[in-house]
Symmetry: C2
Subunit: 354 residues, 2 copies
Amino acid sequence: MTQLKNDTFLRALLRQPTDYTPLWLMRQAGRYLPEYCATRARAGDFLSLCKSPDMACEVTLQPLARYDLDAAILFSDILTIPDAMGLGLYFSTGEGPRFERPLRSEWEIRNLTAPDPHDHLRYVIDAVSEIRRALDGSVPLIGFSGSPFTLACYMVEGSGSDTYAETKKMLYGHPKLFHHILDVTATAVTHYLNAQIEAGAQAVMVFDSWGGMLSQAAYLEFSLPYMARIMAGLTREREGRIVPRIVFTKGGGQWLEHIAGCGCDAVGLDWTTDIGDARRRVGDRVALQGNMDPSVLFAPPEAVAAEARRIIDSYGTGTGHVFNLGHGISQFTPPEHVTALVEAVHSHSRQYHL
Amino acid sequence: MTQLKNDTFLRALLRQPTDYTPLWLMRQAGRYLPEYCATRARAGDFLSLCKSPDMACEVTLQPLARYDLDAAILFSDILTIPDAMGLGLYFSTGEGPRFERPLRSEWEIRNLTAPDPHDHLRYVIDAVSEIRRALDGSVPLIGFSGSPFTLACYMVEGSGSDTYAETKKMLYGHPKLFHHILDVTATAVTHYLNAQIEAGAQAVMVFDSWGGMLSQAAYLEFSLPYMARIMAGLTREREGRIVPRIVFTKGGGQWLEHIAGCGCDAVGLDWTTDIGDARRRVGDRVALQGNMDPSVLFAPPEAVAAEARRIIDSYGTGTGHVFNLGHGISQFTPPEHVTALVEAVHSHSRQYHL
């Protein structure tokens, strides 16, 4: 493989010295970019875009052409695994992801099996290989998956939800059955991420988008242990480098000390946690990724830059910070506000890396 | 006024000894009760129900007839103040509250004034008086208001929102203008709650439903200081008793130490915070109210009772805990599951109050 030209992101995740604070943005290849909308229109629909390695590669690279970002992230959906399990993922206009066959009966749950990533998820693995070739060593590529709990939520509900009533009914009423879904899904995620690493992903991230909907007791029983099991099962080195792991539980700021102990190298933070406080709480155990409110990007560029500087100042001196938003970038973000953000992070952070 | 027969709730809020842990449920008069749905159908629509003191009184008392609850809460809406300010509150089916005239222009914002509660909010004050008479000293009556930040969110957006884009655009882009809305609204809330106390409310609660959408820095600038100002302006004693104040920021578990210092007697907790940890963090400074996940009520009664016991055990020995849900009760809750909850809280908690 080609020598990596910019390894700032990988070094920061491992708390090694860097010249500045690296950044990338969750959902950086997305609808706020006109070039993304054009590719998506060509694909016909979102799922066809995900399932075409060529087009997934194309949109993955688009934000890097526009902005000086320090990492690329595989363009895909978090629900590819349940789709490969046979639940039938589809997107209905304006309603987000849905499954044709949500998991409800014990019989269906007992019959779940972890899919072979080289079979029904081949299109993702092919996209990873193709993106790595296209990046040509410019910046590292991040692979990712949804967390077992987040996948299980969607599998049981069949769609997004405000209350996750079906999930919680099963979690509190039939905990063993719910653990079985999590168990199979954790195995599937481990195989899936290892296949992405094998194909060229240089860091991996687990998105626990819905873990923050749980009580602490339920989080420590139903979400975190399965992420810890994934961490323990991941390939640690590839191409002579450590493959760092990031875990992000949106709404998990209160459980930071617990998350920091799950075997990850970095913890993602949403914007509700003060990153300076977070650093004091986790000490040198992990790096931190985050955490600007994506809605700040609606404000004028000078306000965006000021907020980015505030977060960098709060983190303070030294390595271990990857700048990001605290949630995916909104489709309504003016693209030129992102330019101001990237500029502010790169220039303002240098003073803390001397 | 009649002597209060059950003051357990008021005593617990002031951390005075009680025989058991008192409980009430946020949104206890609501759509999960068939008798509520019947009254609402008779009213025609939600706002007419709120604006009729007789019917508001009727639904306030309904959950008390069914369950052995330790407090009543005024039936009303959190958006009565902006409505009285002239924004034109209405409810469109399935979409939640909306304003006909959301605040967008500087001119509209500069012209905002705090309404006299005895004028456009007379229907709320009359409801408080009527409910107090009807309760006849059985349990205390809680008055309430939305927090300035939460009201300002709705006033600027004109409706609920996932991202509060308009609010954050103003907050980050024109902070002084946003502070002006908060300033006028805080004055309005203070007058409104004092009028409720004057009319007979024996405790008051401020609902900061959306404060948890902010970064810590923004919360400490735009939400908490205005709640602190309200606390400082409230009538402290009435009918020879202290009128305790509860502040509840949903999603505010990370800022508990800050909230505990705002001048309130009790802090409401959503279900993501472990209540035992919360107690260790705030010490003897405030009482705690909460914090069962309302979705637990979808599970079988035995699972409901087990989760209630877990929370009571986590809080531990002594006074200072008011049991509640961590958010309003869902309209899909089976009413008989609430019976199991009330029974479990009252019986299991006695061992901790010897």
